[in-house]
Symmetry: C2
Subunit: 208 residues, 2 copies
Amino acid sequence: MSDSNGPQSVSQRELPVVGTPRPERADARRNRLRVLEAADRLFTEYGVKNVSLDAIAAEAGVGKGTVFRRFGDRAGLAVALLDEREQELQAKILTGPPPLGPGAPAVDRVVAFLTAYLDLLDRHVELFMDSENASDGARYRIGSYNLWHRHLAHLVEQARPTLDADHTAHVLLAPLAADLHQSLRNRGFALDRLKTGTEAIARALLTT
Amino acid sequence: MSDSNGPQSVSQRELPVVGTPRPERADARRNRLRVLEAADRLFTEYGVKNVSLDAIAAEAGVGKGTVFRRFGDRAGLAVALLDEREQELQAKILTGPPPLGPGAPAVDRVVAFLTAYLDLLDRHVELFMDSENASDGARYRIGSYNLWHRHLAHLVEQARPTLDADHTAHVLLAPLAADLHQSLRNRGFALDRLKTGTEAIARALLTT
DNA sequence: GGCTCTAGCGGACTACAGTCCGTCTTATGA
DNA sequence: TCATAAGACGGACTGTAGTCCGCTAGAGCC
């Protein structure tokens, strides 16, 4: 379990907040790590949706209130656990080699992103489900969603300026919803088919 | 409250089921109508998400168990309430005048459907939210989703046979998810902007 | 080291979704 | 009209998310 999920990661879920970032107290930090570790362990062993927050609190040896104050709700905990994996992808997009990183044509970068995201999503569907559906509209409030959105909007603007880039970016992200992905996989769509199909759609849409 | 939501409408939520369709018992019918009426009344008065199923049962003067046996869960009740409105759209698609009904070019029919659906969605977002998100993957199990999907897949096949029509139809439906729609509206997207943007995307994607 | 005050702690509490099963109602057919 | 069984009824029960608030412990200051 990485230690990178500080309070700033949690606040990432909300719209930008100002204020003095007080240092994290020692007991708070200890408990935060315990909870994340416990959640990781129980999720792996029993499956995400079979683990209650009471169970996680018990396993971590903390009170239930502690879990909620720290992570807000079930979605928040899932987000914290996904943070690390998503940050890898974020880094590759911002500073990695093309086509994921800068330097390739916009369309290729869109395709590379969508494909990479599908891989990530497929590996952690259950966690994504929790982070997106545990509360209404959770997906769109998460910091990383907004990051992906800005990235795509920027590329759409370059590739096809006649489209409404802001809106189109949301539309491109919509098929990456965890519940749709899980449903498609259950209907027998192989991951490769989804990737190929997604690439074809993105190219048809953005190639002029 | 229409009386068209018989047991067959409820079974529409599940994959096709065979078996003898026994006639609905009189008390069952009476209670079903009472529950739908009560739900409609309370939802209108207090807002969908502020009404518990206990409250609906109480208002309808039936036991809680009755509500659940009849509708399965919260999503099922929402689906039953939406049924009527969706059936109108279904009828227009199957037998109405073009471009919604048969007779227009495939691309125009896709655009007409997406636009009409956005209107419907916008009018009943709260109910759609419930019907899609009350349980995991509920949206994709609903009978009407599969109907919309088949409709679009058919049109995609005609408009752009090189695409994976089955997959593409799901992708076209993804941006119509209730939670995304609500989030976009909250971010200040006007309904007209969403319609215009959606049309542009559909045409860019499907026009060869 | 001791004081103070703020942030954090934790578990009892509430509210709600969904289940279960003993009881009662309706449809049928003799 | 009555007997019977299929199926509906309903409310007590369970499990979980999320809240609340009196209590505790850490951090900075003297």
